[in-house]
């Protein structure tokens, strides 16, 4: 614990990945740790959207400043049972709404590979602290790419499990039909070890399913003979950064040399995923965020003159710009007279997007594509252009709409001047097929040097 805290004290003033840490409590837990358990004594950083008993859970929002979690989320209960120590609350875009961690109400997190650039988001703090060796592993949440996109931009492994694989109990809800909790790690094996611990049916989350939880590390090391990997033509588009295009195509050749068969596939509704997402996710968010009313917890406006004034001012003072923007959009698409035109249409196109994947997975075992179209952009570059920011998630969003699993693993670097920026390879798998997805990721990882590279920080 002391070595880790020393590293954080040295590096975090540059990276700014953490919002808070309780060193004394973690040290007490470490002293009592049972190292015979699967994660015995391992500190795990937690995105500030997951409740850990007695700790802050601000969602990087002023509306939850001062809030202390009165219970553990199920994933935290499971981590503790496996011997892990939840340590440190990581920064994020407010209520997980964003792709750069610039929307935090407290401060921006910086990319450890270049501190003038964004780490991705919304789980940017979790990705950055793992990349900067300020954490062994971290948990994040992924609604439209919020684990995979920052993992790609920070050069670490990020896994979004199948919807229903991991309990959402104790995760502050953004879009309930899309949200999943998942791990950030330095290696694919670690990702499997964490997934082993956090998976499974939870009676307190009716959307978690009771599919068996296999040992997710059991298939690691198996060869890829007979494995079919789909390359979706819609993901290799104009506008793809040449460095990204080069690295991902090289990774695909690497898969061929490992014995996998590459099959060109089509996901014809890809182009509509961002539009569907910004209707469904904002609609669900506008309902979920109605609970922040200044009555039971969180910020409350002073000297209000009645109920509407109390709600209106409490929420206006507590929420940041992006959250307000999305509440307005979500409220509008659900409002009387517009529901059919926006929300219902989006739900129907969601079916078509999901069908695209079902059809593809009849032919292939997994899908390979870029995680992002470009490497990390500069802090502030897109803050005033929400639509451009929304398009940062163009390759990750369809996964959540389809409910399948996906991950991002390092696959090389793009060179800009004398700096290099990590590139992520995205692998998508069938529902509840994480074991094979991890096997496919592991084979690539072990045959390439990328996961051993670290950013140069003091």
């Amino acid at each position: 614990m002391e070595t880790l805290e020393h590293r954080i004290a040295e590096v975090d003033p540059l990276v700014r990945g953490y919002l808070s840490r309780d060193f004394d409590s973690a040290l007490e837990l470490a002293k009592k740790a049972d190292v015979s358990l699967p994660l015995g004594g391992v500190p795990v950083a937690i995105k500030d959207v997951i409740n850990v008993l007695g700790e802050p859970c601000t969602c990087a929002s002023k509306i939850l400043a001062g809030y202390r979690a009165p219970y553990d989320a199920t994933v935290i209960t499971k981590l503790r049972a496996a011997g892990a120590i939840p340590y440190g609350r990581t920064n994020m875009d407010e209520f997980a709404m964003g792709s750069s961690t610039e929307n935090s109400s407290f401060h921006a997190t910086r990319n450890p590979w270049d501190t003038t650039r964004i780490p991705g988001g919304s789980s940017g703090g979790s990705a950055a602290v793992v990349a900067a060796d300020e954490a062994f592993a971290a948990l994040g949440s992924d609604t439209g790419g919020s684990i995979r996109q920052p993992a790609a931009l920070c050069g670490v492994v990020g896994l979004k499990p199948t919807y229903g694989r991991v309990s959402r109990f104790g995760l502050v809800a953004f879009a309930s039909s899309l949200d999943q909790i998942g791990p950030f790690t330095k290696t694919v094996r670690d990702s499997g070890l964490l997934l082993n611990v956090i998976s499974g049916r939870d009676p307190r989350d009716s959307t978690s399913l009771d599919n068996p939880v296999p040992d997710y590390t059991a298939k690691l090391g198996q060869d890829l003979k007979g494995v079919k990997i789909g390359m979706p033509r819609e993901y290799f588009i104009e506008g793809l950064d040449p460095g990204v295009d080069h690295a991902v195509r090289a990774a695909i050749r690497q898969y061929e040399s490992l014995g996998a068969e590459i099959v060109e596939i089509s996901l014809p509704h890809t182009d509509h995923a961002v539009g569907v997402y910004y209707i469904i996710a904002t609609a669900e968010a506008s309902a979920n965020l109605a609970r922040f009313d200044g009555v039971r917890y969180g910020h409350r406006a002073a000297n209000t003159t009645g109920l509407l004034d109390h709600y209106g001012r409490t929420r206006a003072e507590g929420f940041g710009q992006e959250v307000k923007r999305r509440i307005i959009l979500g409220t509008y698409v659900l409002s009387s007279g517009y529901y059919d035109a926006y929300y219902l249409t989006a739900q129907k196109v969601r079916t078509l997007i999901r069908n695209d994947f079902t059809t593809a997975f009849e032919k292939v075992d997994a899908i390979v594509c870029p995680t992002t179209a470009e490497p990390a952009f500069k802090i502030g570059e897109r803050s005033n252009d929400p639509l451009k920011m929304y398009l940062a998630d163009i390759f990750t969003i369809a996964t959540n709409l389809a409910g399948i699993c996906g991950m991002s693993i390092p696959c090389g670097f793009a060179n800009v001047g004398d700096r290099k920026f990590p590139i992520g390879l995205q692998l998508l798998g069938k529902p509840f097929d994480e074991a094979n997805l991890l096997k496919i990721a592991h084979a690539y990882e072990q045959s390439t040097p990328w996961h051993k590279q670290r950013p140069q920080l003091p």
Partner: protein
């Protein structure tokens, strides 16, 4: 339908008191976003069932027995104002 988009009215529905500056900014930014999402109308969705959830949703039952959960004290611990074991709010009844 885009021309009907009214941030001021929608903000009232959402219980958000926005500043004039925010209303103006969101009106322009979100009109752009709505224009973008209107591309969805090009998709032929005839006969397509909507997806609300990707997994089968079914009722989950348990025995109707009381279980330990937060005490009243714990539930009130984060309240901005409380008294006599209750949440205190501004006067809402005339």
């Amino acid at each position: 339908m885009n021309s009907d988009f009214d941030v001021r009215y929608t903000a009232q529905l959402a219980r958000l008191t926005l500043s004039e500056e925010e209303i103006e900014k969101f009106q322009s930014q979100l009109s752009q976003v709505l224009k973008y999402v209107e591309k969805l109308r090009e998709v032929d969705t005839t006969g397509v069932e909507p997806t609300a959830h990707t997994n089968p949703i079914y009722n989950v039952f348990r025995e109707d027995e009381s279980r330990d959960w937060l005490t009243a004290e714990q539930a009130l611990a984060n309240a901005p104002r409380q008294a006599n074991g209750l949440f205190v709010v501004t006067k809402v009844i005339e």
